[in-house]
Amino acid sequence: MILGSINPAVLLAALMVAATPILLAAIGELVVEKAGVLNLGVEGMMIMGACIGFIVAVNTGSPLIGFLGAALGGMALSLLFALLTQALMTNQVASGLALTLFGLGLTALLGQSYVGITPPRTPKLDLGPLSDIPFLGRALFTHDIVVYLSIALVAAVWWFLKYSRAGMILRAVGENHDAAHALGYHVKRVRVLAIMFGGACAGLGGAYLSLIRVPQWTEGMTVGAGWIALALVVFASWRPWRALAGAYLFGGVVVLQLNLQAAGVKIPVEYLSMSPYLITIFVLVLISSGKARGSLNAPGSLNRPFHASN
């Protein structure tokens, strides 16, 4: 009886929204890792996007310009990471973590005078008759533009990696940078561009939180979303569509557990609240078990520094 109050169409709609920020950040990080770079600073770049996006949107009155600012903000922070890891050959894991610490602090300072302000509203897309289709209309066609943009971005990244020449080069750089270098590709240039793309995507994901989902600015408001995005890239085995599936799975379980709580299902709340993490692990185990190591798809040069020795 109680489960009757949960509407699957609404659930589907809600999970798409819940998944969008982590999906945006994850798809960016996926490209970064495909290029052979592990940037653990996603959380820092997301909060940067959330903050800069908010500030820009408030000052210009345009959420769209806000998102643009967010992408640039995330990118700016990622450039710092690029400088460290690509030019100065620092350790990627440590640099990424330091980036997160730095980003959280910096945004808290920058955003100080923006607490308690409401940003301009981002309109929902009016998809006309599409949103009147039974079930699917409510589930798929009632969102803001960023939700669709995130899906389009997944498709674009998928196409880019699979079919474009630049994508092929990027994969080659990530797979074996020495070989790529020998073939005359600019390993560092490719990696810096990938890192910047990752920063921009993480920034967009953060701005989705501060401009649409919440919408407000409070320091630390991403509350770990960047870490989930990182986990998603691994979950996806570095495949774009699987990142989408993973984000929707995670978002879906989050929304579902809230629904089950509200419906009064007799499962202890502690277990419900940890279910998104457990189920993500469980599904990954199912996917990855029985497969040979090679098929796990991790870029061969991931997290290895590259220095052209000649």
Binding site: L101, L106, G224, S288
Partner: protein, 361 residues
């Protein structure tokens, strides 16, 4: 055109000079930021780097505190560094830290209020075992099902946090005070209290354990077959496999060691400085320790220095907030800068700058 050129031998000079140079650069950059925030930069830097150790007013209290703050970081980082050397990525030490604390506290609460010399050793074993067990989840999933340990160990942090909250609110709640979350104060239970061993030094069993771990790790990495295998697996995985190093065994050992040490750190914290199981018991030591491990260049003695330096900035950061009214966020930025400079300058150890003609990169 400037380019980097790899040194044939890592530079001994820069290895030692870099951290000092990094601190100086951080002082300049951080000082500029403090000045921009309208605070006295010299006073702020003094408070962060010098006063915790040398101040007449604070020193005698802060110096021991430095050990208390740094010991868990060092203990966890030592374990992580072994795994990182073998390219085994335990990102979830925070979770292992929490579970170790819960296991240790669980033993204490089960025995409460019985006296007994054996209780604390049992807690130590339980803490290590708890962390070990939690680390075995990613280890076994990796060896049996090929599941990536980064994802599993990281997501298990969130699970551990929920378990911690549930324990503080439920099973481990202090039964004498109904309703309120939080366990008994273990510092009030003599048999379970991880007390200061020598008054006013800050030295508790966790500090001792960190020291032992440092020596143990040093001996293992330099003198023991296992250490050799770890290095080999990290640098040349294929050669390692041909050399008879079982990757599965290494995964279990590395995650096991780092989990057990993280668990120990949690246990020593909850039974001493932390005092009780409470909802927000964990304060990110498991993540900060990853930075400490790399700042220390994965070298046991380097980790000690890195842990102490980071601990210093935490304590000094609190002082500068309190006395100069610097925002907490400015301290975070300052720490971020310090890390950047430390990492960035490290290139001088292995590379040299060379002016070249031409534009080739």
């Amino acid at each position: 055109m400037i380019r980097l050129e790899r040194r044939k031998e890592p530079s001994k000079f820069w290895r030692i000079a870099n951290p000092f140079l990094a601190v100086v650069l951080t002082m300049l950059a951080g000082g500029a930021m403090f000045a921009a925030l309208g605070k006295d930069p010299v006073a702020a830097i003094r408070l962060i780097f010098f006063d915790p150790i040398f101040s007449q007013t604070f020193g005698s209290y802060s110096r021991p505190q430095l050990l208390i703050k740094s010991a868990p970081l060092i203990l966890i980082a030592i374990g992580l560094a072994i795994g990182f050397k073998a390219n085994i990525w335990n990102i979830g030490a925070e979770g292992q830290y929490i579970i170790g604390a819960l296991f240790g506290a669980g033993v204490a609460l089960a025995f409460f209020p019985a006296p007994g010399w054996y209780i604390f050793p049992l807690m130590v074993m339980a803490g290590a075992f708890g962390g070990f067990l939690w680390a075995m989840i990613p280890a076994i999933l990796k060896t049996r099902f090929n599941t990536n340990e980064i994802l599993v160990s990281l997501l298990l942090v969130y699970v551990a946090e929920r378990i911690l909250a549930a324990m503080a609110l439920g099973l481990m709640r202090n039964p004498d005070i109904p309703g309120f979350p939080g366990s008994r104060d273990l510092r009030r239970y003599e048999a379970a209290h991880n007390a200061e061993l020598i008054a006013n030094t800050g030295i508790h069993w966790g500090v001792v354990a960190a020291l032992i771990a440092v020596i143990f790790a040093y001996v293992m990495m330099t003198r023991h077959m296992l250490g050799y295998q770890v290095q080999l697996a990290g640098q040349a995985p294929r050669a390692a496999r041909f050399g008879g190093v079982s990757p599965a065994r290494l995964v279990v050992i590395c995650l096991g060691i780092s989990g057990a040490l993280a668990g120990l750190a949690g246990m020593f914290e909850v039974s001493g400085p932390g005092g009780q199981v409470r909802i927000e018991f964990a304060s990110g030591y498991g993540f900060t320790a990853i930075i400490v491990a790399f700042l220390g260049r994965l070298n046991p003695f380097g980790i000690v220095l890195a842990g102490l330096l980071l601990g210093l900035t935490y304590i000094g950061g609190e002082l500068s907030q309190m006395i100069l009214q610097l925002p907490g966020a400015a301290i975070q930025v300052f720490q971020g800068m310090l890390l950047f400079f430390l990492l960035a300058l490290d290139f001088q150890t292995n590379y040299r700058l060379r002016l070249t003609r031409g534009m080739r990169i």
